[in-house]
Amino acid sequence: MSKFEIQQRSREDVIILDIHGELDAHTAPILEKELQELIEKNHVHIVVNGTGLDYISSAGLGVFMAYIEDIRSKEGDIKISNLKPKVFNVFDLLGFPTLYDIVDEEQEAVTRFKP
């Protein structure tokens, strides 16, 4: 069975989600629940650090798509960092880099939230 875990921490008023494992149709609900809880708490400055992400399918990408408008309507954003090349390739195939801030390093993502 696919394994996927999220660890949450905060850094300069930004929530960092360290995601590990494989994000597919089986594990996507774990990320979905995490994002729903953050939106409910109005924690909408979010960086997803993909250092530990080994795999993503469109079901995983769909979670980002489903919540980004809610988060942006609350003046927040999801920024994505530290993706492995093979994972970035999937984001790229679907044109994500034009609609999402995808950066190499977590620090850069955090800095982009500063006014």
């Binding site: 069975m1 696919s2 394994k3 494989e22 597919d24 149709a25 089986h26 795999y55 399918s57 469109s58 079901a59 990408l61 769909g62 979670v63 798509m65 489903a66 919540y67 980004i68 408008e69 809610d70 093979k86 390739n89 999937v90 195939l93 679907l94 044109g95 994500f96 034009t98 609609l99």
Partner: protein, 139 residues
């Protein structure tokens, strides 16, 4: 005509099985001599096809059959995925616009697009009560 080597995996339609499917496909693609980039493309395409069957053909009903057949012929890998669910009509598929999807908070529709981008050839067939997706990738 070179000899065809075939491997078959029969599973029940559940997202629990996606990891096993990916391992099955990756192991045989590697044995067949594909490099890492091609293996990543193939496993994602098969995952997307099986996810679509689980979601759309079977509407999340567990226990329904999916058969995955891998054939190696010459420099080409032929992947055939069979199900007995609701047929997919490729002519009714419209390429989703990312902006529309975001505005409407939709999250699906990208599997077919990915499969087409990742594989060299993709076709859908209906055979009696079975649906068949055939896709190929050259080494």
């Amino acid at each position: 005509m070179p000899e065809i080597t075939e491997h078959t995996l029969r599973i029940s339609a559940s997202t629990d099985e996606l990891e096993r499917i990916r391992h099955f496909v990756a192991d045989h693609a590697r044995n067949f001599g594909f490099g890492d980039d091609d293996i990543n493309d193939i496993i994602l395409a098969v995952d997307e096809a099986c996810t679509n069957i689980i979601k759309h053909a079977y509407g999340w009903q567990k226990g329904k059959p999916i058969h995955i057949q891998l054939g190696m012929r010459g420099k080409e890998m032929l992947i055939t995925i069979l199900d007995e669910g609701k047929p997919f009509d490729p002519d009714s598929y419209r390429l989703p616009s990312m902006q529309d999807q975001l505005e409407q908070k939709k999250r699906s529709g990208y599997g077919i697009l990915l499969i087409r981008k990742l594989m060299d050839h993709v076709e859908y067939r209906k055979r009696k009560s079975r649906n068949e997706i055939r896709m190929t990738k050259k080494r």
